[in-house]
């Protein structure tokens, strides 16, 4: 199906920040996959965007040629510290991943399930009597913070609301409050890490971050350790928020799928995986080209900056059958939303658990809901995509589940 032409020349002068990309997100992605294996941008120093599944995969696997040592953001502010392990290459990357990975395995994150379920119900209790909620501020921007800060990082519970508020304002607040709010959050995390370094170990992931790993035979710099805890918090909060919100938007507008999941909650994990594919919170992440190389029919030069477009790759018909359809009944969901290769998302299993708990608990307590009439969700897109508001209405119920 032919779509309207774009105002911008998306293939030769692309810009992730262009509002047209936000508004016509899927149109642009599908045009990329269909007709533009490598798009180009003249924004700032310029960059290239690799769009097809097999090319994204090849670049993701070849970390020597497509290096993360100069970071994942195009036109990055050189003052910004690099965040390992995401923004570094093996072998240093592997030292960190091997230290951190055990805390993110399915068996390890399963220990958080009860706490996540309690938190999900606590959040639902706040609005179930009202018959309406804005799902983003009222639920999806809160639950991942609980998973990350309470369960994974073991922060003092009394500190968490302020931290979540700062992270929330850092991403969703008024523009001028975003940087100071995020800085407060990261300073807090750095102080917490320093405190934990001087305390007896608790057997959690913060122990290994505070202990550090070796870099070239010497202890790694402290700033990298602060970078790790920052990267985990960043990677684990807004990402899960968007997938939850996207999935709930789909269910609010597709009663058949909602009823299918209410009737058979065992379908929820595969539906959640499809939501991850269809609502990719990480649109694209960058690499620096370390040697002249041909990929996707384009000749890259040493020093080029490229972005691996995970969002379009997950809509490539060579990888996914009927990719433009959201189908909660797919038994296997091939996608690149968690990335490909050595930098693949460390928190994928935690994200899946959060999604499973979210849809199980919400649908159990509020099986029927829809968008507030006249409203639509609002999105924001750059190399990340987020939803800012999702107003839902439903029949109000008492917290205890009895009829009022």
């Amino acid at each position: 199906m032919a779509s309207q032409p774009f105002n911008r020349d998306m293939f030769n002068d692309f810009d992730f920040e262009d509002p047209e990309f936000n508004e016509r997100f899927y149109d642009v992605l599908d045009a990329f996959v269909g007709r533009c294996p490598v798009a180009h941008s003249t924004t700032g120093d310029g960059y290239h965007v690799i769009n097809r599944y097999k090319d994204v995969k090849q670049a993701g696997q070849d970390w020597r040629t497509f290096s993360s040592a100069k970071g994942f953001q195009p036109n990055r502010d050189p003052q910004m510290p690099l965040l390992p392990p995401e923004e570094c290459d093996p072998p240093y990357h592997n030292s960190w991943r091997n230290a951190l990975n055990p805390y993110f395995r399915p068996e390890a994150v399963a220990a958080f399930e009860g706490s996540l379920r309690d938190e999900a119900n606590h959040l639902i209790d706040q609005f179930i009597g009202r018959g309406e909620c804005d799902f983003v501020p009222d639920f999806s921007s809160k639950l991942p913070g609980n998973a990350m800060f309470k369960n994974l990082l073991g922060l003092p519970p009394e500190d968490i609301p302020t931290l979540i508020k700062d992270m929330d304002a850092g991403f969703y607040g008024p523009l001028e409050e975003r940087t100071p709010s995020l800085n407060r959050a990261f300073t807090y995390l750095g102080d917490y890490l320093a405190r934990r370094r001087d305390e007896p170990p608790r057997g959690d992931v913060v122990d290994v971050i505070a202990a550090g790993v070796e870099l070239d035979g010497a202890p790694c710099p402290w700033s990298d350790q602060v970078g790790i805890i920052t990267d985990l918090a960043l990677g684990g909060i807004v990402t899960a928020t968007f997938v939850m919100s996207g999935g709930m938007f789909h269910l609010a507008t597709h009663p058949d799928d909602r009823q299918a999941l209410v009737g058979d909650p065992a379908l929820i994990p595969q539906a959640a995986e499809e939501f991850v594919r269809y609502f990719p919170p990480v649109v694209a992440l960058g690499r620096s080209v370390t040697r002249d190389v041909e990929l996707g029919g384009y000749q890259f030069k040493t020093g080029d900056f490229v972005l691996l477009n995970y969002a379009s790759a997950s809509r490539d018909p060579d990888a996914v059958n009927k990719p433009t359809e959201l189908n909660i009944h797919r038994e296997r969901v091939p996608h690149s939303a968690f990335g490909v290769g050595v930098h693949r998302c460390i928190g994928a299993h935690l994200a899946r658990l959060e999604l499973k708990v979210t849809f199980e608990e919400f649908l159990r307590r509020i099986p029927e809901f829809r968008l507030r009439p006249g409203s639509q969700p609002t999105f924001e897109t750059g190399i990340l995509r987020s939803m800012k508001s999702l107003p839902l209405v439903f029949r109000s119920a008492r917290k205890d589940g009895k009829q009022p």
């Binding site: 995969k57 090849q58 696997q61 070849d62 093996p90 990357h93 592997n94 991943r97 091997n98 990975n101 055990p102 395995r105 399915p106 968690f338 490909v340 290769g341 050595v342 693949r344 994928a348 299993h349």
Partner: protein, 65 residues
């Protein structure tokens, strides 16, 4: 102990190879190069083999006696 790979699951993330390049060889495309017969783990390397298998993000690997 033998390491085995479920080829239908392996997606080429290379997380096993980060633990040990010897026990978890990759092919040119970055997928596990372990053959269907499995890879015999040298005595003393069992913990590393288990570690590498656990590291697989899509549970394509097993390390069992």
């Amino acid at each position: 102990m033998k390491i085995r790979v479920d080829r239908s699951r392996c997606a080429g993330h290379g997380q096993c190879n980060m633990v040990s390049e010897e026990l978890f060889p990759l092919d040119d495309q970055g997928y596990s190069a372990i053959r269907d017969a499995g890879l015999e783990v040298p005595t003393g390397d069992e913990d590393t083999a288990e570690e590498g298998a656990y590291n697989c993000p899509v549970q394509a690997l097993s390390a069992e006696k």
